[in-house]
Symmetry: C2
Subunit: 198 residues, 2 copies
């Protein structure tokens, strides 16, 4: 492309690698970035690098965290005997925004999806089992109500049955096929209240 | 936000500063970036920095360029006596993609919009006048067919009238209210062919 500089072409190429950004959006973003102050651009780039370099998995719940143990797991006022299992950190954030759940979380980083080549051993399930060796009263399964999320919920419930720990599933107040993070807080709370034992 | 790490919060904040990216998209992007390889993340960040650090305005046409003079202005096979005036580099790219325009460009970096506080002196108009001291046969005004683009076209045509240089406007084959970059090549070419003298 003679009409675009190499730097712009490379920038557009990098941006189109990101999810939900097509070549047109990438062009618009690149053009915007090139018209920003140098300081602001460097801040953006450094923030990206630093976030990736410093964010790690919490060694307890495996959410993305700045510290070895995330603030939720490190909080003695949370009920560490109730573990809510979610697919990812954004789903954790969705429940945290309701401000009404005082237990802790377990982040699976995915859901079982044989079609996509994601099996039980590819998500943080072994790590959940290890946590149940401590004193746990209830495991609330809050995976999405998609096919993968339901499959994962069923798998976990069968896996944990022998432990005798109470296992529950958030109610199907959550619309079928929806992603947790897009759902309003009232619906999220109704789903939590209406959870049924598996 | 206790549930997000500081690094993630900062990253989301930076990403929401970009056009067309709301807090939900920013969260999705941030999460995606944090799950990328460190090398890929560094490449993304470095590409952003390098593009901003190295891209400058072509000293002839003011398009975004890697070099002091852009490849189009430096090309002796282009007709340097025909200048197409566009609002920005993406509009230039839209006409370049047709492969049928062999003249050169002049990039205004904006359009006159008193409502938005953009006046004639805020866009690269003085620079266009300077270029007309050389031997120029025609100035084709290819600003968008929005209110701002039409205003700019009228302003330029009045400004250049005394020079006696032929001034034309791309035909209104371009849908009113549309942005040049979103228009198909056939329509762009029809608009070029049907240009009328002002």
């Amino acid at each position: 492309m003679e009409y675009y500089s190499n730097y712009i072409s490379k920038l557009i190429e990098q941006l189109t690698n990101l999810p939900g950004i097509g070549s047109k959006s990438a062009g618009r973003l690149a053009y915007y970035i090139l018209n920003m102050n140098v300081e602001d651009v460097n801040l953006l780039a450094d923030t990206i690098k630093e976030a990736r370099a410093n964010v790690r998995y919490c060694k307890e719940c495996f959410t993305l965290s700045d510290s070895e143990v995330c603030p939720i797991c490190a909080n003695p006022n949370r009920n560490h005997k109730v573990i809510m299992v979610v697919e990812n950190t954004r789903d954790l954030a969705a429940y945290e925004k309701t401000g009404k759940f005082d237990g802790v979380y377990h982040v699976l980083h995915g859901a079982i999806s044989p079609m996509a080549g994601v099996f039980a051993e590819d998500i943080k399930l072994k790590e959940l089992i290890v946590r149940l060796e401590k004193d746990v009263d209830e495991v609330i399964i809050a995976t999405n109500s998609s096919v993968e999320g339901e499959t994962t919920a069923m798998y976990i419930s069968k896996l944990l049955k022998p432990t005798g720990i109470k296992i529950s599933r958030i109610a199907s107040g959550v619309p079928v096929g929806g992603d947790l993070e897009n759902i309003d807080e009232v619906t999220l709370l109704r789903a939590l209240e209406g959870r049924t034992e598996l």
